[in-house]
Symmetry: C3
Subunit: 339 residues, 3 copies
């Protein structure tokens, strides 16, 4: 059960209701009227709690679980301990997400402006916003309805935030036009100058960075992540992108819809990722590349040339994933033979 100092649980919900919420099917024998109080991990859940199995690594935990109900792929159903109610789903993690959101809905924003916040008279703040202590909203900014601006966050002049945005504590947003329901985590830096200058032995000469950051709807931007504004064109983050912590996104980068960028990835200037492209942790992209729709880049890969749609690449310099695995194997064999 989640710590009540930090979380409030809704419910209880009947199994029938949870099936409806999650789109999962009740397995034979499960009692639709049985009530559940909470979600919990397989090894911690009790009779009135719902859990899930997604990663096969946790099959033993599933087999030993005391959870009253578990969301699971139909193929695994025969591994269930006796007496456990099963919610069958072809995408058990997604079904679990819906159940967990039902038990722990995002709290509604309670409208309020802290007396220590500063909102420039020439800024517009929509209905139902909450502006926390020490937050600053500069002139010309337009904040949509029901936004929550965290403590000591800074919204620069002219910035546009759509409805229902959540800006974390100590984050800064400048030179940006942001869609609806965007979640900027604490300490993220959006819209500062890109790394653009003309190098030379007589000194590097700064090039004015004249673009913006354009962010779609339903985007998450992780803690302490940095997204530079465009140099002339804009930096663009498509709707539905999930960006983890400590990611660097250079000027003029364009991410399509639904991209997944894991922590500490770096994307150099003017590189474009197609819709639903994904990059594993600490991967790096050179500048001016085109990465196709649905491409996948392994963790720590170093991408130095274009990647086709749907391709998976790994290694530095990155090559098709199968080739990278063969390279690793060949290298390993080479050593063993000589060792």
């Amino acid at each position: 059960m989640a710590d009540s100092r930090f979380f409030s649980v809704a419910g209880p919900f009947t199994l029938a209701r949870l099936a409806e919420i999650s789109g999962a099917e009740l397995a034979p024998g499960a009692d639709p009227a049985a009530e559940f109080d909470d979600v919990a991990a397989l090894d911690q859940a009790g009779a009135r709690e719902v859990s899930f199995l997604d990663n096969r690594k946790y099959l033993p935990a599933f087999a030993a679980s005391k959870a009253g109900a578990v969301i699971i792929h139909p193929d695994m159903a025969d591994r269930a301990p006796a007496g456990m109610a099963l919610l069958l789903s072809k995408d058990p993690y997604r079904a679990y997400a819906k159940v967990a959101q039902a038990f722990y809905p995002r709290p509604a924003v309670e409208p309020w402006v802290a007396p220590t916040a500063f909102i420039d008279p020439a800024a517009k703040v929509g209905e139902g916003c909450r502006i926390e202590h020490g937050a600053v909203v500069y002139a010309g900014a337009e904040v949509g309805a029901r936004c929550h601006i965290g403590a000591n966050a800074v919204i620069g002049a002219g910035v546009v935030l759509g409805d229902d945005c959540l800006i974390g504590a100590n984050a800064t947003v400048q030179f940006a036009v942001v869609g609806r329901n965007v979640n900027v985590y604490p300490g993220a830096r959006i819209g500062q100058d890109g790394f653009g200058f003309a190098m030379g032995p007589q000194g590097h000469l700064k090039v004015p960075q004249l673009g913006r950051v354009i962010i779609g709807d339903n985007v998450e931007i992780g803690a302490n992540t940095t997204i530079d504004r465009g140099a002339g064109p804009d930096t663009v983050i498509g709707s539905g992108c999930m960006i983890d912590n400590l990611v660097q996104i250079g000027h003029n980068v364009q991410l399509g819809r639904g991209c997944v960028i894991v922590a500490q990835v770096g994307i150099s200037g003017s590189t474009r990722l197609g819709d639903f492209a994904a990059a594993g942790g600490q991967a790096g992209f050179a500048g001016h590349l085109t990465i196709g729709m649905g491409a996948r880049v392994a963790a720590q890969a170093g991408v130095v040339k274009d990647v086709g749609p749907g391709e998976t690449v790994g290694g530095t310099p990155a090559v098709p994933q199968m080739e990278w695995l063969r390279q690793s194997a060949a290298l390993s064999k080479l050593v063993r033979r000589k060792g």
Copy 2:
């Protein structure tokens, strides 16, 4: 054209004036009296806008461009579309930087101290400074003339900032002596304790970090970058260094003049880089190394031994760049032969 919510454009300028500003030469046929209103990318510029071509990758965009004038290397001049005015420069990006700075000069700092800022009575703040909301300047700090301290930024006790510094929102500067015209981006952390402790099974024992961070003139320090102060000696950042976002610089590191450090690079304690050394994104340096003047380190390289002046290295562990490329090629061939 840059978004007027965020940028104000100067001008118009005649072509003759732009040639003078940029040091470029007018190509035959260009009208020196023609007026221009703005800069723009090749694919977006119109008849009264100036663009530039630097990266050959954008030659097709150049050939199709409707820009009224383009700054370009003389060698490319014959690829220009008919009727385009050309500004010829051997360093077109640098010439463009000057033109763009003319259209978009850095706004003058309007002197002001926010009522919510705290400036310790024992701090000195120079003439013409602007101190934004919630910024804090501790006792003994000395802030030069015309500095701009961003919202919720924190300047620690005793810190010295030269004239014309720009400290971004939510940045912190401690134990540091900073030169003129230094631009610290939002969220950068300067001067905290270095990672120094005596390890041991009975517990790691913290070693007091007794040095400072010394920063020269005309330095840029990227968003959320961290620069630890020295352990005893100082950490030193030479004049003219350009440091991108999310870079880690350990205690006692010394960067010479004009070094270029791309995003997410990590430099371990006591390593020294000579003047104009450059490190690509995500490169890492072990501690106690000497990297020569003008050395270049490829992105993601792992440098574990000294690098000579002017050398280029890549790979992990880093080797001369040509050797690294051969290694990659050999590995690739090995796999193809066996595959």
Copy 3:
């Protein structure tokens, strides 16, 4: 000598007292009554200053040093210049740490609450705390005695801080239960949502993150480091862990006691490190791994499978360190043969 704008030195101390403080032994000929004023690096120390030699790389500096006293391993004693007093220790760096702490003790926290700080009436703040300008402490938080909360730092609702914690400027701590004497550096982000969502072409679905961050005693968490809270289980940082700057620690990660995590390391969700495991800079760990007690991971390594207790691994994908070195050597030889 440390810059008096930033540091105050205690002392002087006699050699006898320094031997007692550090646990080192006076070498024959050293005068126990001799007084010392400060610590300094080998190449900067004078007759009344104490230095140390730990890294053999600095043997020449030792031989040329004018330091009045040096802490050194007994094996090196015969390299000492004539007239230098020696403090002999099998762990000279640890002995130096104790001496330096004596000269530069951590200043006592002067109790105070800034008028611009906000402390919710429903928060508890212990005796002797100092809460700096613009800091925010939300309802239900419990702050132990003698804590120092930096300027513009944010302590979220319900957070527990043990005694003697130091929270750096602009840091944020949410959903966390923190032990005693924990040092959170400026800009660190603790307790935000983990990167958990169900991916899908119809949009990624956020999974509520219902765990906490549990931090032991005597932990250091570097500048701009990010530690996500658990998804259901907690994220756990054991007592005595030293975590450098810009480190990413994903949800459900567990670090044992005394782990050392160098800058820019990334540890993916649900991975566990045993006591005193250590990771070099920029190393990455895949999720759901078990890393044994005392294991060591080389800088930039990419760990994709479990590592046994006491093992040392390197490379990407990481293999035992000796094998990785052989791989590098073999690759190098392969190229030279063909080159």
